[in-house]
Symmetry: C2
Amino acid sequence: MPHLLKDHIGVISPLSDEEFDYILSHFVFKKLKKHSFLVQEGNSVKYEYFVLKGCLKAYMSDSNTGKEFIYQFGVEDWWITDREAFFKQSAATINIDCLEDSEVLGITLENREKLVSEMRKYEHFVAVKANLGYISLQKRLQLMIMGSVKERYENFIQQYPHLINRIPKSFIASYLGVSRETLSRLYRS
Amino acid sequence: MPHLLKDHIGVISPLSDEEFDYILSHFVFKKLKKHSFLVQEGNSVKYEYFVLKGCLKAYMSDSNTGKEFIYQFGVEDWWITDREAFFKQSAATINIDCLEDSEVLGITLENREKLVSEMRKYEHFVAVKANLGYISLQKRLQLMIMGSVKERYENFIQQYPHLINRIPKSFIASYLGVSRETLSRLYRS
DNA sequence: TTGATTTTGTGATAAAAGTCACATCAGGAA
DNA sequence: TTCCTGATGTGACTTTTATCACAAAATCAA
C-alpha cells in the first residue's frame, strides 16, 4: 500500500507495512482551507506537520516595519512547523498559513518521542533528517550572503521548479530576501 | 573530575565519571598552531571537533571572486566541522583554520555512531544539539534577511562578546556578510 | 459575467552598501 | 629596538537595491 509518508521515510529507513501503519497511527490528519492558519504567533505549537497536499508558507513578521520574511514553503513531501516552539514547547514566534487548500499529517512531541524511543528506524530517520535540514539551511545562508539576487533566484528555481507559477512572485521575493520589484526586474533579461 | 566536554554534554544529559570516561575514549586530542588547517577544501573530513581552547574559523571561498564567507567561529565549548562532508563522507567544500593556537577533541563518524547506538544519553545529547543548532541557524538567516547591518552587529556582540577584540574586524565583517569598511563606519557613531 | 481586489511590470528617485585608494596604527619577528 | 606586514579608519565614487507611484493584466467571488 503506497503512501507519501511511507515512501518519504522509506528512502532513509525502509519500512514494512506493519511498521508504517504503527507509525501512521501516531499522526493526526488535518484538512485546511486556503488562508487558514496552521500555526499562529503567540499560540502553542502542538504538532510537527508533514505536508500531503497543497502549499503553505512559514514566515515571521518584523514588529517594527510590519514586513514579513518567508523562511520556508511547505509543499508535498516537506515537513513544516515552528521548530523552536514545537521542541521547547514555547509560544510560536512565526505564522504558518495555507496558500492553497492543504492536507497535512501532524504528530505531537509526545508521540514523536515515543516513536523515537520505540523504533530504531524512526529514530534513525529523524536524526538523518535533522542533519540534512541543517546542511541545506547552511547552504541557504551561504547563498544569501555570498550569492547575488540572480544566483539566489536561479537556485530557487532548481529547488522548487513547480512553485514558480503556483504562488505570487512577491512571496518568492520574500523568501529570497529582496523586494518584489527587484525580483521582477531580474528576469526580464 | 571536571572536564569542559563533560559539562558540555552534562547540561543536556548528565553523566557519571565512568560514562564520561567511556565517551572520551572515543575522541582523539589534537593540538594546533595558529594558521594551521583543521579541514581543507577537497580533503576528506574524518572528524567532528569539540573546541577546548583557542579560536578557529570555518569559511568557504567563492571560486569566482575569491572572497570568503565565514559561517562559523569555533571557540571554547563549540563544535566545528564541515558537517556535510563529515556526515556524507564526501570531500570538504570548506576550510577551517586556527586564528590562535588551539586544542580540540575529534571524533570519527564511526565512533560517533557507535556511541549513539550504545548510549541513550549520548544519542539524546546529539539529537538535542542538532535541534538547537538548526534553530540558531534559522535565527541567523532571519537576521541576515530582515535585520540591518547594525542589528546583525549588535546581535554578534551579544553572542560573542569576547571575540570583538580578539579577532580582526575583517573576519567579523565576513561573518556578518558586509564589507570591512561598512562595518568600520558602523561603530564610529 | 462582471466588478473588485490582487498581482505584476516599470519608471524615477533615494538609500544602503561595495569598491578603490591611501594614510595611520599596532603587533610580531629578527 | 627596528622593520615589515597586516589591521583599521575614512574619503570619494560606483553599484546595487529599496521605495514610491501608477498602469495594465490576472484572478476571484458573487
